[in-house]
Structure formats: structure tokens, C-alpha cells
């Protein structure tokens, strides 16, 4: 069999089996002939080593066939998934909502910290306290802000992985229904590079320590400067219930 005979036979067989992108496939075999000819093989030898064009065409057909004729299964699988989606997508959205809550916490902590440091009191909402207490509270609030910002990072990252994992699951579910190949399940874990991961862990530990220490210290300093354990009553924060 010559090169042209082989290629036209392959083309015919591929057409018969309704394989797509026939030009692309023939190109690959033409290249194969070109390489082998350059190495000194004859067209007949090359064609013989390639194997039977009918068999090759069958392999291409086998690789792409299952995709076509499973419309029924696809519809059933798709309907099933639609019902699962009704529950899953709102659930995932709710998980994202927690990121919004943490972001709000971060913004609030920052506002309180800046207000105490700058001696501001927007809308008169912050309870008054001595300067030292205010500064310690500000530091505590900054630590809380760092914690909640990192919380947003971790939580959003994790939920995003969860979403991707679910989308991969959906894809594989449909692939199983239509008989095509499934992909690996998507792992739910953060892909933070190890160095960044260590840095973040350090920041979490420092912020956590600063927050706890700041909380205790605030209480202590306030109690001492007000001369009362329930210093918030001493400073009449809640409208003088005790006085």
C-alpha cells in the first residue's frame, strides 16, 4: 500500500464511522509518513507498520462514539442534578455570606480602632474611656481585624474550592451518564504556597495572642482606672441603671 492509498483508505473508513476532524487526523498520519520517509523507509513498509486503516478508524470511533447517542440518560441525569442544584447552590451562597459577615467584622474593628486612636467618635456611638484604655482597645481591635481578614481569606478560599469540587462532581455525573471519561474529583483544600502558609499562620498566632492579651489587659486597666470591677457601670455606659 502506498502513502496515498493508505491515507485515502483511512479517510474513507473515518467518514464511514462519522468521526470528527478527519483532516486533523490525516495530517497526523501524513506527518508520520514524512518522518519515516526521511529515515529511509519505503511507503509500503511504513503503511504496513502503521496497521490496518480500518482498525485505526475503529479506534478513533471508539474514542469519540459514546458522546453521541445517550441523550435520554443525559436528560435524566440533568434533571436529577437540577433538583440537587436547588439545594446546593443556595447552600453554597449561604457559605459565602459568612465571608461577608467576617468582612463586616473586619471593617467594624478597623473603624473602632481608628476612632479610638484618632480620638474620633462617629455619631457618638463609642463609649468614652481614658486614653490608655482607648489605645489598648484600639490595638485589640486591630488584632481582631487581622483575624477576621484572614478568616475571610481562608473561608472564601475554602468555599471556592467547595464550589469547584461540586462543579467537577456535576461534570463527572453527566460524564458517567453519557459514557464519556470522568475526571479526577476536585480536592477541597487551599492551594496556599507553603511559605505564604507559614507566614499566615504566624500572623494568626500573633493576632490571636494580641487579641486575647489585649482583651484581658483592657479589662484590667479599665477596672483599675475606674476603681471598680464592673467599670462599665462606673462610667455609666448603659444609662445609669446603678446610679
Amino acid at each position: 500500500m502506498t502513502k496515498n492509498e493508505f491515507l485515502s483508505l483511512l479517510q474513507k473508513q473515518l467518514k464511514q464511522r462519522e468521526v470528527e476532524d478527519i483532516g486533523d487526523i490525516l495530517q497526523e498520519y501524513e506527518e508520520h509518513f514524512a518522518f519515516k520517509l526521511r529515515d529511509g523507509y519505503s511507503e509500503e513498509e511504513i503503511a504496513a507498520k502503521l496497521g490496518d486503516p480500518g482498525e485505526i478508524a475503529a479506534q478513533y470511533a471508539a474514542a469519540s462514539a459514546p458522546r453521541r447517542n445517550n441523550t435520554g440518560m443525559k436528560i435524566i441525569a440533568g434533571t436529577g442534578l437540577a433538583f440537587v442544584d436547588i439545594v446546593t447552590f443556595p447552600f453554597l451562597a449561604a457559605l459565602y455570606a459568612f465571608s461577608a459577615v467576617l468582612s463586616a467584622l473586619a471593617a467594624a474593628s478597623l473603624t473602632v480602632a481608628v476612632s479610638y486612636i484618632g480620638g474620633l467618635n462617629p455619631y457618638g456611638i463609642l463609649p468614652p474611656m481614658p486614653t490608655l484604655c482607648a489605645l489598648i482597645t484600639a490595638v485589640t481591635m486591630l488584632a481582631l481585624m487581622a483575624l477576621s481578614v484572614l478568616g475571610v481569606y481562608f473561608w472564601t478560599g475554602l468555599v471556592t474550592q467547595l464550589v469547584k469540587s461540586y462543579l467537577r462532581y456535576r461534570k463527572n455525573f453527566m460524564a458517567a451518564a453519557s459514557g464519556s471519561t470522568k475526571l479526577l474529583p476536585y480536592p477541597v483544600r487551599l492551594k496556599t504556597p507553603p511559605q505564604l502558609w507559614r507566614t499566615l499562620r504566624k500572623i494568626v498566632l500573633i493576632s490571636l495572642f494580641a487579641f486575647v492579651a489585649g482583651f484581658v489587659l483592657t479589662y484590667a486597666v479599665c477596672a483599675i482606672s475606674a476603681g471598680a470591677l464592673e467599670w462599665w457601670h462606673a462610667w455609666n455606659w448603659f444609662g445609669g441603671a446603678l446610679n
Partner: protein, 108 residues
């Protein structure tokens, strides 16, 4: 050996070659058929299947003094799939070998 049986292993071999570096079709076909007894035409349908499964992608690259060549490249999914399949396969042949060698010893 059973042809169908070989084909699954060859798929893994193709992924292994692409894990090292990007290759064009003939390179892969040539490397494999030099070491494993299969007809030269077997590798191309496998490449096609890997592409439609999303395990590899292709790109064209100009070559000096010739038409551009189609290179195959492992995708992230392909790479992950390969590492998992490779581990499973090596474990499998290890176990199979142990069983077969046990058999031989019993007969002696």
C-alpha cells in the same frame, strides 16, 4: 499479549512521556514503538482520546525548514491523573509479580 490490554498501559506511557516534556505526535509514537511491540498507528488515536478527555492540549510550533508541528502538552488534570494512575499501576504490577512468582515457587 492482548492488544486491548496493552492499550491501557500505552495510554499511561504517553502521559509519562508528556510529563517530562511536550512532544509532537511522531516523537511519542516513535519512542513507544521502539520499545513496545505495537503497530505504529496505535498511538495517534490514543492522543486524540486523551485530548478529548481534557488530559492533554495541543499547540502549533514553527520548525526551521518545515511546516509547523503539532505539540502535545499535559494539562493540570492530565498531570494529576497521571500521578494517580502511575501509582496505582506500579502497585498493581508489584502485586501481580509477587503472585506470579509465588506460583512458580509452588510448582518447583
Amino acid at each position: 499479549m492482548n492488544v486491548q490490554y496493552k492499550k491501557g498501559v500505552i495510554e499511561l506511557c504517553v502521559l509519562a512521556l508528556l510529563e517530562h516534556r511536550d512532544c509532537y505526535g511522531y516523537e511519542i509514537s516513535d519512542t513507544i514503538s521502539r520499545r513496545i511491540d505495537i503497530s505504529d498507528g496505535t498511538v495517534y488515536p490514543i492522543l486524540r482520546k486523551l485530548k478529548s478527555d481534557g488530559l492533554v492540549t495541543t499547540y502549533l510550533q514553527e520548525e526551521s525548514g518545515g511546516p509547523p508541528r503539532k505539540y502535545y502538552k499535559l494539562t493540570e488534570t492530565g498531570s494529576a491523573q497521571f500521578r494517580q494512575d502511575r501509582a496505582e499501576w506500579l502497585q498493581f504490577i508489584e502485586a501481580a509479580k509477587a503472585i506470579m512468582e509465588d506460583d512458580e515457587n509452588d510448582e518447583k
